[in-house]
């Protein structure tokens, strides 16, 4: 469908309509910050948010998700949880991270739990209006996106350019009133927004092309940066919890009070936690903090790119603030390695 134009008031009416028909989850103010939460009224929508505390990952892969039910008598049955939902106002870097999760969970043998949830989610992306302090998405090519969403909203002055890319997106747009054809001036301004995003979302500067990172890391195993920076690591896993590009999980059984039935669940896990690679007998394959700290960067900038063709970081900058020790910033780490390399 060609791009349309929507006034601010028409946008509010449209959002109201969407809330009536479907569960809508969108960025809203939360104390001094922003967070994704179910939207109950259009007024709470904050398309001007800089970044949310947690990425929308929690709706695609909830912190705790039932995989199976079991009874002692009848064994196991699959439980596929899903919830039709519109993720509204998703920034491009988070859209890019969802595309990564798609690739991660759906390649080869698809994970039906992820797949079903994903299929019931419609994504309304939103170009960034305000940049967060730590963002470096432009250095990783995720300041704007051109696929991976159903609808894209871009603010141009007092109005929005809105474009649907999929039948699901068309269906949402069909609920909007006062849709106008996007005029060339508005489309030109949208181009400008995309161009500006490359500067706006570069609050930190990675001093190399991300394609160079695997080779850089190849030669950096014994670099002092790992030991030095990880000295103050609490092994708390916060840097992983807030990351839209982290997908690791743990699996646990939970018994119902009757002790005869229960559920098997998966939970978010974090490679920074000390027990992540412990096996029976107590052997820990990543015993030292430094090894766990290093693994995170290798997984993101070497193993995932080599295996899946994407870097496990979209430059949202969330881990920078989430880390109370102040050591999780990927840009600082890579730039330090680059200094040594040149």
């Amino acid at each position: 469908m060609p791009a349309k134009k929507l006034s601010q008031s028409a946008l509010a009416l449209w959002v109201r309509k969407l809330i009536e028909t479907r569960r809508v989850v969108a960025p809203q103010a939360k104390a001094e910050h922003f967070a994704y939460a179910p939207l109950s009224q259009a007024e709470d929508l904050r398309l001007d948010h800089d970044v949310t505390i947690l990425p929308p990952r929690k709706y695609l892969m909830p912190p705790s998700e039932v995989l199976l039910r079991f009874t002692r008598k009848d064994g196991y049955t699959s439980v596929i949880e899903h919830e039709p939902m519109i993720l509204f106002g998703v920034h491009p870097y988070d859209v890019a991270a969802i595309a990564q999760a798609d690739r991660y969970f759906l390649h080869d043998r698809p994970d039906i739990h992820y797949q079903t949830r994903r299929r019931s989610i419609t994504i309304v992306a939103s170009d960034v209006q305000n940049a967060s302090e730590d963002v470096f998405a432009a250095c990783l090519g995720t300041a704007t996106v051109h696929d991976g969403f159903d609808v894209l909203l871009t603010r141009v002055g007092d109005a929005y350019v809105i474009e649907s890319r999929t039948p699901a997106g068309d269906a949402l747009l069909a609920l909007a009133q006062d849709l106008q054809e996007a005029d060339p001036v508005s489309l030109g301004r949208r181009e400008q927004v995309w161009e500006d995003a490359q500067k706006l979302l570069r609050r930190q500067v990675l001093k190399c092309n991300p394609q160079e990172l695997p080779a850089l890391l190849d030669a950096a195993r014994e670099h002092p940066v790992w030991e030095k920076r990880s000295q103050t690591c609490f092994s708390c896993g916060s840097c992983v919890t807030v990351c839209p590009s982290c997908f690791c999980f743990d699996v646990e059984d939970e018994l119902d009070p009757d002790l005869q039935s229960g559920t098997r669940r998966r939970q978010w896990d974090a490679c920074l936690l000390s027990g992540f690679a412990v096996v029976a007998g107590g052997h820990n394959f990543r015993k030292r903090r430094e090894e766990r700290y290093r693994h995170r960067f290798y997984r993101k900038a070497k193993y995932l790119p080599e295996r899946f063709g994407f870097m496990g970081c979209v430059g949202c900058g969330r881990c920078v603030k989430a880390c109370t020790a102040g050591i999780a910033n990927p840009v600082e780490v890579y730039n330090t390695l680059l200094e040594g390399a040149s």
Binding site: L68, S78, F249, D250, L255, F276, R299
Partner: protein, 285 residues
């Protein structure tokens, strides 16, 4: 009006996490901490594994644990697992009686190349402790197809004589004219008349022909460090070594991230690795 969360039960076979039912057909105490279970899938079909592969064993309300298949696949619809009591799932497994039902996912992972490069070569199995459990599957396979291989040697090392498993089979192996079996214990007790010392001591004595042999090893992490050095000293090429590595596993299918060895997944590219693949991989050996 908002819709409430939906939850449906989907067709079984599409779910990678859904165990299939299997029943305990017999159990045998092997040692104070190891028990042998014979299982059969409830659908009556063979498991369909190759030696070296593992299954995820589920017990409702307790959890799941990766366990290597210890029996050879040859023409049998039953399979065997050796379970060492090590924690929650394995302890609960020890409580499983004949006729009880468990969940099985898999088989998963790579296998020892018994149907490939091992053919026509001398085969040297090096088993440390519980490492005998997965290797036994390959040893049985090779002995069942004995003429397809050259000399067959099994080296077995354990901490103390009470840890010896499969006494009848060990006895059989030591008597067979068409194979060499050698074993050693780290610490002897009053009953022990055999070799004493670490497993690497057996390697020079085993008369391994480095040009003709392929070595297949399975044991605790510490064993590999020494075994590899020892093999190097008798000129076994890295290309002729296969090892099976254990890691924490929570899915067995390349999704949970727990089993990563550098960029490799022990559940996908392993647990059996061609040793050259691991060279230069930090954390591997």
């Amino acid at each position: 009006m908002m819709q409430t969360p939906a939850s449906t039960t989907a067709e079984a076979d599409a779910d990678l996490y859904l165990p299939r039912p299997a029943t305990v057909r017999s159990r045998t105490v092997l040692t104070a901490t190891e028990m042998l279970f014979e299982l059969a899938m409830d659908d009556g079909k063979p498991l369909g594994h190759m030696p070296g592969q593992f299954v995820e064993v589920s017990l409702p309300g307790i959890g799941e644990a990766p366990i290597s298949v210890s029996s050879s696949p040859d023409g049998r619809d039953r399979f065997e697992l050796v379970v060492r009591r090590a924690g929650r799932v394995t302890a609960a497994m020890h409580d499983c009686r004949m006729g009880e039902r468990v969940g099985i996912r898999g088989p998963f992972g790579t296998h020892f190349p018994v149907d490939g490069v091992l053919r026509g070569r001398d085969v040297v199995f090096i088993a440390g402790g519980l490492g005998l459990a997965p290797l036994r599957s390959a040893i049985q396979y090779v002995l069942n197809h004995r003429k397809d291989y050259g000399r067959v040697t099994v080296l077995y090392g354990i901490k103390s004589p009470v840890e010896r498993m499969f006494l009848d089979e060990l006895d059989d192996w030591s008597r067979r004219p068409d194979m060499t079996f050698m074993e050693t214990v780290d610490r002897a007790d009053a009953t022990w008349k055999g070799n004493v010392g670490v497993i690497t001591r057996l390697i020079p004595a085993a008369e391994i022909d480095p040009k003709r042999s392929i070595v297949v090893a399975c044991g605790p992490p510490i064993m590999y460090k020494f075994v590899i050095v020892s093999l190097y000293s008798i000129d076994v090429a890295n290309e002729d070594i296969y090892v099976s590595l254990e890691r924490r596993m929570k899915c067995g299918i390349g999704k949970c991230g727990h089993c990563q060895i550098g960029g490799l997944y022990a559940c996908l590219e392993g647990p059996v690795f061609h040793y050259p693949v691991l060279l230069g991989v930090e954390e591997a050996i």
